[in-house]
Symmetry: C2
Subunit: 765 residues, 2 copies
Amino acid sequence: MSDLWTVRSSSPAHDRDAIMRDGNIYQIANGHMGYRGTLDEFGPAECVAVTLAGVFDRGGDAWREPVNAPNGAYTQVAVDGQAVSVRKTKVRSHNQTLHMRNAVFERTTEFEIGGKTVTIHSVRFLSLKRPHLGLVEFGVRCDRAARIRIETGIDGNIWDLNGPHLRQLKADQSGDILAVSGTTNEAGKAVAVAEAIEADLGPWNFENRDGRCLRTIEFDAVAGRTYRFTKYFSVHAGVDGTAGDAAVATVRDARTLGRTACLAEHDALWTERWGRCDVGIEGDDQAQHALRYSIFQLLIAAPVAGSGNSIPARALSGQVYKGAVFWDTEMFMFPFFLHTCPEKAIELLRYRIRTLDGARRKAQTEGPGFKGAFYAWESQETGDDACTYFNIGDPLTKRDLRTHFRDKQVHISGDVAIAMWEYFKVTGDDSVLLDGGAEVILECARFYYSYAYFKRDKNRFEILDVIGPDEYHERVNNNAFTNMVAKATFEIADAAAEYLKRKHPEAFDALVGKLGIADELPQFSEAARLLYVPEPDPDTGLIEQFDGYFQLRDTSVEALKAKRIHPDEYLGAGQGLAVPTKVIKQADVVMMLNLFKDRFSNEVKRANWEYYEPRTEHGSSLSACAYAMVAAEFGDLDFAYRYFLKTARIDLEAKYRIYVGTTFIGGSHPAANGGAWMTAIFGFGGLKACETHVAVDPRLHRNWKSLRFNLAYKGDVFAVGISHEAVEIAAAPGNTAARTFVVWGEAAQCAPGKSLSVKRKKQVA
Amino acid sequence: MSDLWTVRSSSPAHDRDAIMRDGNIYQIANGHMGYRGTLDEFGPAECVAVTLAGVFDRGGDAWREPVNAPNGAYTQVAVDGQAVSVRKTKVRSHNQTLHMRNAVFERTTEFEIGGKTVTIHSVRFLSLKRPHLGLVEFGVRCDRAARIRIETGIDGNIWDLNGPHLRQLKADQSGDILAVSGTTNEAGKAVAVAEAIEADLGPWNFENRDGRCLRTIEFDAVAGRTYRFTKYFSVHAGVDGTAGDAAVATVRDARTLGRTACLAEHDALWTERWGRCDVGIEGDDQAQHALRYSIFQLLIAAPVAGSGNSIPARALSGQVYKGAVFWDTEMFMFPFFLHTCPEKAIELLRYRIRTLDGARRKAQTEGPGFKGAFYAWESQETGDDACTYFNIGDPLTKRDLRTHFRDKQVHISGDVAIAMWEYFKVTGDDSVLLDGGAEVILECARFYYSYAYFKRDKNRFEILDVIGPDEYHERVNNNAFTNMVAKATFEIADAAAEYLKRKHPEAFDALVGKLGIADELPQFSEAARLLYVPEPDPDTGLIEQFDGYFQLRDTSVEALKAKRIHPDEYLGAGQGLAVPTKVIKQADVVMMLNLFKDRFSNEVKRANWEYYEPRTEHGSSLSACAYAMVAAEFGDLDFAYRYFLKTARIDLEAKYRIYVGTTFIGGSHPAANGGAWMTAIFGFGGLKACETHVAVDPRLHRNWKSLRFNLAYKGDVFAVGISHEAVEIAAAPGNTAARTFVVWGEAAQCAPGKSLSVKRKKQVA
């Protein structure tokens, strides 16, 4: 059983599925790197991975993916000549714990070897203070005298999906510090790992064996005595030479500081994080635990300040999805950061600003005469698209299927523009607009204008030939979600231009001059007005997902799946089983109703929800939270609750799909984690931070007594407590101004240091 | 060996492939019905088919197809108790002959039975004078005395692809006339077959057995004596009761007339046809024979006057392609009729006028807000589209593939409009315009206007999301062929409106009023101007087949085919092997260059030909002739010659494909036959009949001494003779006016009854 701050298991991963699952669940990360939840003695066969943020490489013809570093946390113990591993040795007891409070992974295993009980205990963390540093405390004890051999060091045997990525891997030694370094195939970037030991076990021997750079020691162990050592390991990437030196310096400095101090500074930062970002759910431990786990996943993935990185779709849990950033980040993860730690939200936006040129290149190459910024569907460090045209392997023919994710999922640009603008609206901070955000917004609008067609006989712009969120229907016209996103982008471009012109006229002139966009600005205004978005049917309230959707064949998800020849058969992509049917992969119209919730009535939300939900496969982890949030809005709280748990517990339950076609997609699901936070705060909490005020319309599920969280708004911080009877809002003493909250429709000011309590009025039937 | 007016074989069809092949090669038809080239004793297992023009039915869930009638030509002989058939009996010699001069099929077979030689000789034709009538002369002889039994009558066992189509098939007798009739499933249309015998063999017995309505006779045959009889059979379709009576009346009347007279009237009509339509090629018997065979195929398929039918893609050779009319008719067959027997050309146009409402219905159902006429890709009797959305079976998955032939091959409407206008230009006859042709043209333009999008930033209309002639690339934008056809349609609409306004103002006003199209006419003019058509690259002369074609992967046809998992695997349809490559199914840009030959230089033609030809699979029988014609134009006469033979001999060689995916597509290829005629006359003859004159720019292949043909032009007839040195043109005495011929660039008049000779000038190098 886990307490509310830990995840625990008493059975070590024994097969491939469990290894994959535990690797995700128990992973730790610090934004710079991730370390999968594997055990000290594991190697590439057990999918150990030290995945680096923002370092990519291509090996041969396979796709580019993040580089996994050599494993500096490797330790293998042998007792009486027998190597000890949960995979080979008899395990008497095992406990592994993820401590979410400070992102520490701990394991204790009792092995039985020749009648002796050998206990291994280790603690591992990646320093939040020192992003390049990892630390392992390791101890081994035998209940009877035994000959113990410890080999530890750096394992250069790397688990890669499409590796190897490091050429000329070489081991080195600097005093008693071990180092392994190599260079990437493509960019010749150096990746260096160093390891230092703090121990009192006697002199170590050094050897390079089986791809490992090792130190070993062998001794006669006294019964019942624990033999301990601390490993410091570091991973640096960069220019050759300096990376190696930096890696050695990092571990040397850390060792000088000592493990207690290293842990203390790490803990302090985590305490500060949790203080701002934790959410309390009273009365529902399962929800509390799952939501905290979700928040934890987002926090460990948050990019290091100034790194220029964002959060990939599988975070730092490995190389799946090419380590690429998708719309997941802006649409599902960004809101959490925006409302809790805007300094991380701005990192995510800066990544898009930094990769704007990549988006410009994509626009120029993806179509005839596209202009502006067409963001990558799968974005790596340059913003060029890592998404392949043939993106899914077909288990039936063993051929790669042509998908149009890269070239037709044009909503990505608007998703980015919306996040830019949302940041400005919620934080009031216009620095991101001035530092490239406005340029991104205008370039996104420019892209949509060049992509759109005008229909003369209908006097409207249309967005043709796209994929909406529902990826099973490719190349559709007038997808409601996409059109609305494009329309919003034109509106935002208009508003951003107006704002800059008014507040920062020089910056505005410089930007307009740089982009040569003066003539186009009025076109964006016109397009905002004349862009067609499918309207709710006046009788039924239904919005057609795209032109012709309602004419598709109606069938059930189950009936469709029963037709599969192979269980991993992809249902979309041209001839997929779902293509001619109304079965959709994930929330699409409902996603739009959620994103633009102010523009639609609850009746429309309910009507579309009830129509589309039974037709949704939920084949994407992004689907459940959208349905949950909209259900909460129109009042189906039981559904919302069920789908909240589904999205919050996705990695804990590990019931997700591991293969799409022949393509491996295992890994963690930070977008679902972000969706869990949104469902709690926006869905049940009913929070909506607007430009002029914060609306709070709570609709807690009956299982919850209260919901407590902090809100960052306009540079200020508020503690919000929601119960079934009342909403309490407390402004931090350091806040800069009184802010308006509209709780249950009632507006009130909350000045710095003050608090506010609004009681729920009795419902009039 | 065949002489130049016959097709002969001395081996009877013994296996399925040969049966299919001979059934096509030796078929006869008279526009009302077709009879496959099968032998008297054959039944459904040998694919006997009496395919009716314009009578369609759906059996169960399978697709609609033309109805095959019961076989009134069935005869089975038994000698000494042993049934005689080429499939079971020892054949000593066999000769089967198709007499093209009068569309007669003849067979003589010597069988060996118990040491005796039995000779069967039969002659079969379908009366050109009496479309419902067929006639068989049958004789049997044994070299030694034998017991002979003849069973003949009507075989109600029908070969169908998707049958049965005739319910309640019942046998009847009216005096000594046999009759079988049934009604179609869908429309309850009666199909009645009658059979009468003229013989002097003694009394017949009558019986219905094994699905056959039979008369039998058995006698002791004298050695060496031939026992003869004549069968008259008729097929009527229509209202129940009257069809049966009509069928009986047809055979009764014919028998009264007698076989000699029936043959004589039939022959006379064929002589008249050949007199107008034959083409003489001096010096090249193979070409002469193949071209004559091609012309023969077109003539037997030509619809009966006033029937309201057109020519299906497989003519009357069976039920393949649903007996439907495709663009094949207007683009590949129509020119032959237009230039030789315009009274048949107008039948083809009237079919499209008659089915205009079907095209209107299709426009309304196929897309959001489409207007006007979107002609059926596969058109049956109503003009509703018989083309299914899932049109090709996939041999790999056994599923039907979604193809977009029906919904995206929008060039069909323009193909129809172009033919309408071409008829008016070449014949000078505006009756077809007044009788619905102008309405068709305007409705086609209206369709394109509703289909087109305007690109604001490029100030042009575009035609998006189509399939051009190359069906391997679906859903492409700005296909050069399609855009040019649409542009021509707008131009034609403009010209037709102008013409009517000027010449027939009342008809114009009535039409504009009926269609409510007054406001749209100026839009058509604007669209004709502003519709984008991909231009030849100024440096290379290349025209991009569609947006992005040049970015596709370059590979060879052979390399692509080598990747197939199954030999019948379809190369298009979403995930087909050809889709991501430059490999195309058939002429597309080159088809456009041929159709709009006046608009492009020879340099552009050659450049595109050289680029596209190696990338063309020629997976359609429509491809070879387009490449041949363009090659002739820019001077590669050897290629043109090779591809002329390929297209003219397609059914004779039977090297075509029988399956696409799992879909059976065997049958004859009248469009290729039309292509052969065009290649001879337009390609080598260099003939181009324009509104004001007829241009003749011959470029005969060296194998040909001369080319002779008749030309129907503006209601007049001219005999044209082309040699390497000179062109001779003789106007018929009954011609109405002098016409201008421009031969080798030199204009001259040819008055009624006069002739004209233009000598080729010496080439200056």
